[in-house]
Amino acid sequence: MSEQTEKLIRDSFPDAVIETTDVFGTLNVKITPASLVPICELLHEHGFNYLADITAVDWAPPSVPPLQGGKQSGLQGGKQSGLQGGRIEVVYQLTALERNEKLALRVDLDRDRPEIDTVTAIWKGADFQEREVYDLMGVVFVGHPNLRRILTPENWEGFPLRKDYVIPD
């Protein structure tokens, strides 16, 4: 199943795919940020009707001081996209409910200016999830109808899940 989906994406958007990996049986496709919405529309047409999860991982550069008591990560998290200031990786977990096929889309964003188009027009369930990623990780979802903080107060400073976030006393 996942071979067909990979072929579908590669055939329709030959320049969009950066790499594919297998994560415990789930096809993970890293794509260019600009191709996210067209690929999501394509996948939605081909049965991926369920957006299970949106999240983001902060791959801070080594210059960012580690958390108190933590050790600096040596993990690269896949192929680098040439973002020297570090990157924020947004991960979308999709499911095609009819055939129970799973797929994850991944995009690398510039850590200093993370921006990506919203997918709320395709899956309404993305509304709260994108707000959460914005709130905690600082990713701006361009075109989101109501991009406000959701879990922290509106006047909160900083993005708590960033690796260089300083925890207030």
Binding site: F24, N49, Y50, L51, A126, I167
Partner: protein, 368 residues
Amino acid sequence: MSSRIRTELVEINMGPQHPSTHGVLRLAVTLDGEVVVECHPDVGYLHRGIEKLAEMRTWVQFIPITDRLDYLASMLGNAGYIYAVEKLGAIEVPERAEYIRVIMMELQRIASHLVFFGTMALDLGATTPFLYAFREREDILDLFEMVCGARLTYNYFRPGGVSRDLPAGFAEKAKAYIKKQRERLPEYDDLFTNNQIFIARTRNVGVISAEDAINYSLSGPSLRGSGVAYDVRRADPYSVYDKLDWQVVTYPDGDALSRFMVRVMEIRQSLSIVEQALDALPEGELKCKTPQRLKLPAGEIYHHIESARGDLGVYLVSDGGEKPYRLKWRAPSFINLGALNSMVKGWKIADVVAILGSLDIVLGEVDR
């Protein structure tokens, strides 16, 4: 002279201190007379930053925090996290432990659905069913107390198994409970489920179609109440669910009554699962050996289970160390709440309570 009476929109707050919001949830509701025009949930009052806390704790130290998210179904919080850890770490689990886990997870699902049954009744003005439901839930909490000493925050699951064995007399007590619960479920129906007032307040109220429910990423009983037979226990079987005989419960109408009925019928399914697991419980080890200081290999995993509220996903990234590099908790209550606005639009303010109740959210999990 115009026959139309001029009306003005009014904005009101429901909550954060309001009994029918099930915790600290504020709904900013815009009303045209009694009719809801907009309803925006304001969440975060219980936000504790558990995803950040996870990055400062070892893999095992995080288990007690999973008790405190969906605090009406702590065993399932334990389970969601532990299955992700075990899969990432390729940790084997003895079969006896898996059967004990299924017993705990399904008893927990019943306990959670009982709270739902009671609070839904309470929201709609019937106080007695709440007492019935809590009376039976007490028996489940007694069983949990026998097993792990705690009544609400169990900290019972461990990577590779469970923390301790079932004590002597557990199976007998559990079977006595199942018998009693089965006898009392018809009483619930007589008292509340078949009550005309209850049915009038929930049938065809807050309808969401299957297509919309999927588009809003609803999950659990709230999705199955729209006729979508998606249950993670069946779609991506974990533990020993594929060895047991049970049905995925769905109701087709997508209204508050359907969502209610899914949970009421799931109690019966879960009773059957617990009974089968008790009968099939094999002898053997409780926990496989794991290192004192557990390290998981570098990599990542997204794993999900069916909690009492829906599709509970846990995304873990490990850098090979003793602590998570990143942990994300896909809380079904949070995502289900995202559909509330579309479900209550056009309904009366009193229906907001019925529709919110039918989603069965827990704010500990919404806010994390």
